[in-house]
Symmetry: C2
Amino acid sequence: MATLIAPDHPSPVADAEVLRKACQGWGTDEKAIISIMGHRNAVQRKLIREAYEELYQEDLLKRLESELSGDFEKAVYRWILDPVDRDSVLVNVAIKQSDYLAIIEISCIRSPEELLAVKRAYQSRYKHSLEEDLAAHTTGDLRKLLVALMSIYRYNGDEINARLASSEADILHKFIEEKAFNDEEIIRIVTTRSKAQVMATLNRYKDEHGTSVTKNLMDDSASQYLAALRTAIRCINDPQKYYEKVLRNAINKPGTDEDALTRVIVTTAEKDLKEIKELYYKRNSVSLDHSVTKETSGDYKAFLLTLLGKED
Amino acid sequence: MATLIAPDHPSPVADAEVLRKACQGWGTDEKAIISIMGHRNAVQRKLIREAYEELYQEDLLKRLESELSGDFEKAVYRWILDPVDRDSVLVNVAIKQSDYLAIIEISCIRSPEELLAVKRAYQSRYKHSLEEDLAAHTTGDLRKLLVALMSIYRYNGDEINARLASSEADILHKFIEEKAFNDEEIIRIVTTRSKAQVMATLNRYKDEHGTSVTKNLMDDSASQYLAALRTAIRCINDPQKYYEKVLRNAINKPGTDEDALTRVIVTTAEKDLKEIKELYYKRNSVSLDHSVTKETSGDYKAFLLTLLGKED
């Protein structure tokens, strides 16, 4: 469930007027921006952008970019974007910065139709395909895996072929035993099968061999490919548990990883951040709100806490 | 341009009645079937199927399958199917028979949106993704190439990056010189770039090195991968010229390759078979109609000639 608290029918014109006022004159009224934008869902935000453009012949996003700064600006910018457009921006930034988490998340957690919409948004924004940019910026086994994850239009049905799960669990086990972690058969199974089928295969593997595939996909090489493969499997198998871990790592990192923190909160606040918060509390014995309060500050903190569902 | 000759507004109900009559009683009236189905476009055929189902609570396709036989049955069946559904059937058959021409044609000649529609049709028909079936039935370099061609959602814009074309023509040349034909960079360029960009790169290669990439992608190995790569490049670069060659090979083969003949005629009769016929005449000094008349017989011949635009 979402953590976002949004009124039922706010007036886009009234909202646009408040935002305009918050941006005018000496200084910016960040509180007003948070109180509006932190309480509007994707459709409402879109209507505000349209109303703002109509009223003031100005792009609200651009205006906010020039008024705000730092992590707060980044978070507001990402938040205001339409979800599929936001994903396309996240992937583009991730490709440029060789930060593959966002790429794996989006390719493995979004539904096939959502992923397709992200690809369309990417093409309309950058005039290239997402896949060609990703392929041109990566090499070797990592490229094979990431491009395959991003390219696939997976079958989205729930049907499971138990015999296939069993035979492909055996294939995984065979190559893992041989430490042939980059074998194309492993990549094929993880990247082309439906998520339900991949999960059935992972379960079967666990039943047969007593440990999870991800635990067995380890060596001492610190290989980027292997880390990416484990991440992909986690994202397919249990996105909420995966997101909890990303949040935990982001918060425990010396200096805090604000980009990861922003990304997870912004992309899940309208979806399942409530469940992720529960997992976080279970695993860390402190609430996510508490950790965010401790590790961030200023308008950025206030904005994240608003998205996390804090009552004003 | 199409070769199909279809009236503007035929009555689906009247057509369904004629077809019903043609299927009833002792023997089948193939001529009546050809005179209707050989002169109806995709939308009209769909309306006939719907009218037939409504009138007789029977699937027209299934009825025709049971009434007809051999190459004629196959051709009628393929023809009546909705084009994207037909492509999904062609790909499925091709995967099972390891006949990769149809796979390469469909992945490289259809537009990105058409290819996506084929994948959707495939999933709805077979309850798997096209990509997973293809990946599970192929191996090695051939798999890498075919799965990449099928998975990609290419950018469809006309914009060309001339500098990129030049640098990627150099990459192609480098690996071709080294006879590293299966290098991932070659696969990346051919499979991920927009078709306009691939063509710019091929042209640049020709300008720089005086021969086409396909001429240089040859060795003595009779490798399936290399043949598939050349086919993909031809399909991207000049689909009509490619189709002319498929027709020529199908006709000149001892015994005639009816499957290929049917496939090309059925899939292009509503699109650009006219241009393909012109190329055929130029290259072979006989008309395609003449060759088809010579190499086929019976109802199958009559049906193909009708699709080729022969006036009754």
